[in-house]
Symmetry: C2
Subunit: 496 residues, 2 copies
Amino acid sequence: MERKLITGAVLVEDGEARGTRADLLMEGGLIAAIFRGGAPEGIDAARFNATECAILPGLVNGHLHAHSNLAKGMGDRWTLEMSLTNAPWISGVRSLDEIYASAAIGAAEMLLKGCTAAYDMCLEFPLPTIEGVDAVARAYDDVGMRATIAPMASDQPFLGAVPGLRDHLVGEGVEGLPQMSSEGPEGLLARFRALAQGWRWPSEKIRFGLGPAIPFICSDAFLTGVRDLSAEFGIGIHTHVSESKVQTVVSGESFGETITAKLHRLGLLGPRFTAAHGVWLDGDDMRRMADTGANVIHNPASNFRLGSGVADVRAFLDAGVHVGLGTDGASCADGLNMFEAMRLATHASRVFGAPVDSWIGAREALQAATTGSARALGFGDSIGVLREGSAADIVILDLRAPHYTPMNDLSAQIVYAEDGTGVRDVFVGGRCVVRERRLTTIDYDRLRRQTQAAADRLHGANAQTRARLQHAARLAEAYCRCFISRETPARRYICE
Amino acid sequence: MERKLITGAVLVEDGEARGTRADLLMEGGLIAAIFRGGAPEGIDAARFNATECAILPGLVNGHLHAHSNLAKGMGDRWTLEMSLTNAPWISGVRSLDEIYASAAIGAAEMLLKGCTAAYDMCLEFPLPTIEGVDAVARAYDDVGMRATIAPMASDQPFLGAVPGLRDHLVGEGVEGLPQMSSEGPEGLLARFRALAQGWRWPSEKIRFGLGPAIPFICSDAFLTGVRDLSAEFGIGIHTHVSESKVQTVVSGESFGETITAKLHRLGLLGPRFTAAHGVWLDGDDMRRMADTGANVIHNPASNFRLGSGVADVRAFLDAGVHVGLGTDGASCADGLNMFEAMRLATHASRVFGAPVDSWIGAREALQAATTGSARALGFGDSIGVLREGSAADIVILDLRAPHYTPMNDLSAQIVYAEDGTGVRDVFVGGRCVVRERRLTTIDYDRLRRQTQAAADRLHGANAQTRARLQHAARLAEAYCRCFISRETPARRYICE
């Protein structure tokens, strides 16, 4: 592969208010050398001018859903429970091309906004298929992004998991509609096994993971099967843990233990385990996560937008939990902007009324969005850092942008002020995938047309289901509020 | 003035999921006509192609500080009280050129990010001058933005207003440093009068306003003098009200009434009165604001970043308060992005644990950021709307951006997903001030160099003051925490 030398930039390095002047040599997809102060004369490499720019490691989105990319802007005022009730029409009856388009437009957006790898819990409705998951993988590969893809599945319906909810909604349009999965644990585990065995993508680019959707709608048989597959194939488990208060209360009342205690007891927690959200984890839960080396992905945009409560990331860090950062799906973090996710992580930490030392600072947010998420994806420390030998996944930020003028503190200005308008170029594995704010890898206008056409067709195809469920979702929300009024050890709302 | 016809776009209009196809004619700085469905043949006007674009009214930033634009990225973990203690080195010893550059870089950024008018509480340290305020006005005019400029002043020092704080910090570096103002009320009022009388800018472009900094550091004599000047000249009053819990508790204990009750008793509240923040307003305070027709500017980014607490905007709206939206200064909303401010307004409303009907939705956020703020600035309904006869202050959004693909709900996608990367062109009063993401009005690279040079010089000139105050600021914060632990009628933190 061609050698490329990025010249004239500064590296985002801790301790240097304005970054460190350096040239960066890429070869074979890796960072071959970093020349602090400037490269020596005579290096045989193609030059890439980055004067008045900063070099940031590509950001890593620790949690999103490829299928949600068609739902952006929907559900102005939806809780998670409303979103789950509405799922059949949001994600129903997609063709493989539509599954591909939904994943590809999200990958395109993430790259354009400085994110080079993602942990994707894609949903195929009602069941994950080899072809569907492969379409998602192909989308990431075509657009030029790294990903770990964990298809989402569960063997129990959401409406049945909340005591009394299904009965409450009978007569309101929920009868006879397809649920997210319609197979028992054996069938789902067989699908996961087939996917793991047949995986055709190289693990340094596109990895496979296991996505038990939400533990409170997964049987013990399914969860332990997932645990065994994870060990057998050495692959990650990604699930939603204690995202909403409703789930947390219901799980505690149904199982007589917290969901994390149950996952621990069943042997799922460990370095390959990644919990998305963790808003309602209590102190004991956090210790279980920390003791086993599990990862938590903080999704502040989603937690704010869905009113799920505010995760206590300082408590995670104090407990020793590995923390990454994500946007969540485009239905609740509509713009998939990891710069904003970092900023929101600092914001979320400051609404508890606690002393400033407990607030998440700019450097902690940056770390969560790079090395923190990279670990959760299973990429270890091969991405998310600027170091000789690590992957050449690099974002070039234009320091001529007004939010870098004047330059006071490069790291802080990236976290507090970058909104995506400063992203000029992006490299993944040394390949220039975004050049002057345009994708080099795909025909973007063609993808746009495909994506809009998919959304338009699905809007019609799911119209009847939509009409039946929108009212039911509001009733579900009102019903679920009785669980929100319960007392829990964790406090994550202002007016509890 | 030239007639211009914007063609091929959609208007952001409520009730239309994908906007309304329309051409828009501008003449004499106003919207001369809106042709829904397309303009008739033969209109004599220069064509401006906006195919695959949306037309949004220019956003209005209801609260910021021109001087803060040199401080972006500073104060990673600062409360408001730390920021106030540090003020002398952040804003000290500026030349007129430096005051100009600080205002101009902020105006440049706001225009590039779709904001066409702002309410600016500029600070000149230690005292406002005619030349300094004029430099700020000139900056907005040169860059091509509308503004209401309310120079900030107070006749009492912050350190003296918090009981015991100054004594606590004696020996810690605060002695002998200049305070924000060093004049009694008569002197300050004379300065304000001179500014109002000598105002040379047309009121439809750059207006003058009165900026008593924070009521708890303003004497009754100063406040009532401001009230009288406001009535005499028909100009706005802009101040910070109940921004932090410290201020709110101290004001209550010092005055025996809330700050809003005091302002009401002194006769300041009314349609020309604008309170920034209002985080800690209680129900009676909100009624006072509503009954008098006063405005509140919500600044969610700043409130999050400074840990000031979460304002209850639904309660404002229920009480009938006029609500606008702002970023606050670049030291606490570093990127001055009004799209993000709208999104954060929806986020902030959802951390109370209240039912979805109480959440701020996309359309309410959009309204606050346009007509809500416009009213506070004193521009009434002449800006912030797309209507024949209103000002041609217009933002062209590129709907090819991935966050508009697919298009499901234009208003919601603007609020939940636009980060500034979709802003293509901006018009103010029919003049194209941003064309293809570049300013047409000024030499931006020259302004950048000026701004960086100003920051560099000031960094040196204020180094000693900085060294003395940074430690004192931390002590001030620790001291002020005793006020944060008090009980107040309003709850705005999770762990109170």
